[in-house]
């Protein structure tokens, strides 16, 4: 019989709070482990509860919203340097490679299709 792990209210509250931070800040400077400690739960528990609640890992979620945000910025006409910085990458090459890996197109191709 499959057993479903139940999380304490404190953990669920930490997960919700953590997700809010991820949503608010595309560029997150703090490591997940440090932040989870500040929220009073261990990283593993936070990770597990996050996946349970939202159906993806913290990194998957973060990467997805980062890429969605990049599309919004491209659509708004932001240049690559600005987008790179806003998403938390330090190098344009890192952002453009991550973008192409995610969407299968370069940001330039995507920007042309958005206009």
């Amino acid at each position: 019989m499959k057993t479903e792990k139940m999380f304490k209210r404190r953990v669920l509250s930490a997960v919700t709070c953590y997700k809010q931070i991820l949503d608010d800040e595309c560029k997150i400077g703090q490591q997940a482990a440090k932040l989870s400690l500040q929220l009073g739960v261990s990283r593993n528990v936070l990770q597990e509860a996050f996946r349970k609640l939202y159906g993806e890992t913290i990194r998957e979620y973060k990467l997805r919203i980062r890429m969605e945000r990049s599309l919004q910025l491209l659509d708004a006409g932001a240049n690559l340097k600005v987008i790179t910085r806003q998403l938390g990458y330090t190098k344009i090459r890192a952002f453009t490679s991550a973008f192409k890996k995610h969407y299968g197109y370069t940001p330039t191709t995507m920007a042309k299709s958005l206009t």
Partner: protein, 152 residues
Amino acid sequence: MTRAAKHIYTLLDDHLGIYDNPQGIEFIMNLDDSVFVVSPIKPPPEPYVDYGLIYPCQPFNTFIDDFHFSGTRALQTMTQDKMWAMYHKGKAEIYCTLVVRVIMYALYFRLTKNNRMIVRDDYDREHTLEMVFTSPLQFLEYTESHFYQEGG
């Protein structure tokens, strides 16, 4: 997965897929856990050029094997010399990207075992060069000429 690999995986995961080490080398882990590494060469040949070394996307285990990482410290202390060593082994490439606002055009240059140079573009189309480039200006001139040939 070895213990070292597990620790490195956790480090990259903990940084939500973007880890910039103190020497300015950026490690990116994608959704499928593949990893690529970027290390810019400064100064670039022109201000509008993004120029440097890239270890292209590889599965996580290949990345660990290629770099022979013994633990997280090796990743944290890695310098550009290691990227140059990877370049000379043909496992990393020199990238030369022309960047103007949202327009970017990139070519990637890698060495082969018989000391020839192969160029690829963003769509993985490859061709071999007649000579091996060494100076930043050579990489830039070649990239620019290709960009104009393709109607840029």
